[in-house]
């Protein structure tokens, strides 16, 4: 029941509503909890409400962290050789 999915905002509507899309499926979502969201933002949607933005920079930085791990591992591996 806590399921929350990332969706992309396509269009803002009246009354704090917007249309958001994922995988070709669109639906109306409330922005009452995230009033400053804009078109093209990725947001986390839970039970019909956007609850937070998905920050692209941070998403990439976290992947970089995995990559950094790769490099330190590779270093370890050369150590062992």
């Amino acid at each position: 029941m806590c399921v929350a999915i990332p969706m992309k905002i396509q269009e803002l509507r009246e009354n704090n509503l917007c249309v958001a899309e994922i995988g070709g499926v669109s639906r109306e979502i409330s922005l009452m909890l995230l009033p400053d969201a804009r078109v093209d933002d990725y947001v986390i949607v839970h039970a019909g409400f956007a609850i937070e933005k998905l920050d692209e920079k941070e998403a990439l930085a976290t992947i970089d962290l995995f990559r950094e791990l790769d490099e330190s591992l590779r270093m370890d591996e050369t150590d062992h050789e």
């Binding site: 029941m1 806590c2 399921v3 929350a4 990332p6 992309k8 994922i22 409330s30 009452m32 909890l33 995230l34 009033p35 990725y42 986390i44 839970h46 039970a47 019909g48 409400f49 609850i51 937070e52 933005k53 998905l54 920050d55 692209e56 941070e58 998403a59 990439l60 930085a61 976290t62 992947i63 962290l65 995995f66 791990l69 790769d70 330190s72 591992l73 370890d76």
Partner: protein, 362 residues
């Protein structure tokens, strides 16, 4: 951008992270980590995370499924309300099958009660608008992720002067439950995988007291397999270094202070109260109740319903399972008498329940 999210499932990187974890100097130390979010429980089983970890690292599940921790007396009250003349009972889907002491909403529906599954509280409000002559009661359960959506619906109800909408509230908040479990020596949690979307609302600073007062390691992580592995890595590193803190692996969504608009709405509509967690018992300050200025929307005030004391099903050990003390396989009803089609206890009902996750991925 969502294509980047694929990379959070890269099997190659998962193996590398696994190797990184295996190289940590655990020296045979037994370490118990607890996840307190039902979606983490499901992801851990689905991706087989347990099997990737060293044998001495134990992952246990806490009371992270909102449906599972909802007291049986609540279900009994919901059933009594659904049976009132003209009532439309609106609920999230996973409440429908939960057995109360004597029946379930699903059974009640087959007996003629009007029970509607909605995706959002705004859909429930729409039902109220479209059926002005009938009372619509919404089952308001869930943690800090969900509670703001109920608060928002009440604000909308008042703004639109919708008077036939009310809620039966049993919201719970996570940090007080994590405090109670951290303080329980019988469990011995050394690190928490903190909930992802609860944290989106309350912010990761809400867990600062856990390392500070209890020396318990904390990491907020997302739901992808690499998120969880990285979270476990961060937790183990904290334990090994004996430097407990709150690491935030899920920084793409979670900020230090959370979502201010959602927190404001929570505060406007609700105030803390003691919360009764099914199987765990009363935890001080772990519930939310309507503030006095919002009590007119309290379903129990609009209808006089009385229920005999709730009866837990005999043989079910949900209580121990919700505290991470025992695993579902230790329940003699598991998989035989109790299955997702015919759940006996709450942990089997919701897909996020620990028993259901074990059953599905066994």
């Amino acid at each position: 951008m969502l294509k980047y999210l694929q990379e959070y499932r890269s099997p190659k990187d998962a193996l590398r992270l696994q190797e990184k974890i295996r190289r940590l100097p655990l020296n045979g130390r037994r370490i118990t980590l607890m996840e307190v979010c039902g979606s983490h429980t499901m992801a851990i089983h689905k991706f087989g995370i347990r099997e990737l970890l060293p044998e001495t690292v134990r992952l246990i599940s806490g009371p992270g499924c909102p449906v599972c921790v909802t007291g049986m007396e609540y279900i009994d009250t919901a059933l009594a309300l659904a049976a009132q003349q003209g009532v439309i009972m609106a609920t999230f889907g996973d409440m429908v099958k939960v057995p109360g002491s004597r029946s379930s909403l699903q059974l009640a529906r087959s007996e003629g009660c009007d029970v509607r599954v909605v995706y959002s509280t705004l859909d429930a409000l729409k039902l109220a608008r479209e059926n002005p002559a009938r009372p619509v009661v919404f089952l308001a359960i869930g943690f800090e992720t969900t509670a703001p959506t109920i608060a928002a619906s009440l604000l909308e109800a008042r703004r639109q002067s919708i008077t036939n909408y009310s809620v039966l509230v049993a919201h719970k908040t996570m940090p007080p439950a994590m405090r109670a479990l951290a303080a329980d020596p019988g469990i011995g949690v050394q690190g928490y995988i903190c909930p992802a979307h609860v944290s989106a609302v309350i912010g990761w600073k809400a867990y600062d007291f856990l390392p500070q007062e209890f020396g318990v390691a904390c990491a907020v992580t997302g739901f992808e397999p690499l998120d969880i592995l990285q979270g476990v890595y961060l937790l183990l590193r904290q334990v090994i270094r004996d430097e407990p803190r709150v690491d935030n692996e899920y920084s793409r969504v979670v900020s230090p202070d959370g979502n201010p608009a959602a927190l404001d709405m929570l505060k406007e509509v609700f105030e803390p109260c003691d919360g009764n967690w099914r199987g765990v018992g009363m935890i001080p300050g772990s519930g939310l109740t309507l503030r006095s200025s919002w009590r007119e929307y309290d379903a129990t005030r609009r209808f006089a319903v009385e229920c005999p004391p709730a009866q837990e099903p005999p043989g079910c050990i949900c209580g121990d399972i919700l505290k991470g003390r025992r695993d579902p396989v230790h329940c003699r009803l598991f998989g035989t008498v109790c299955t997702p089609e015919h759940p006996v206890g709450a942990c089997m009902v919701s897909a996020e329940g620990t028993c259901a996750a074990w059953y599905k991925y066994r």
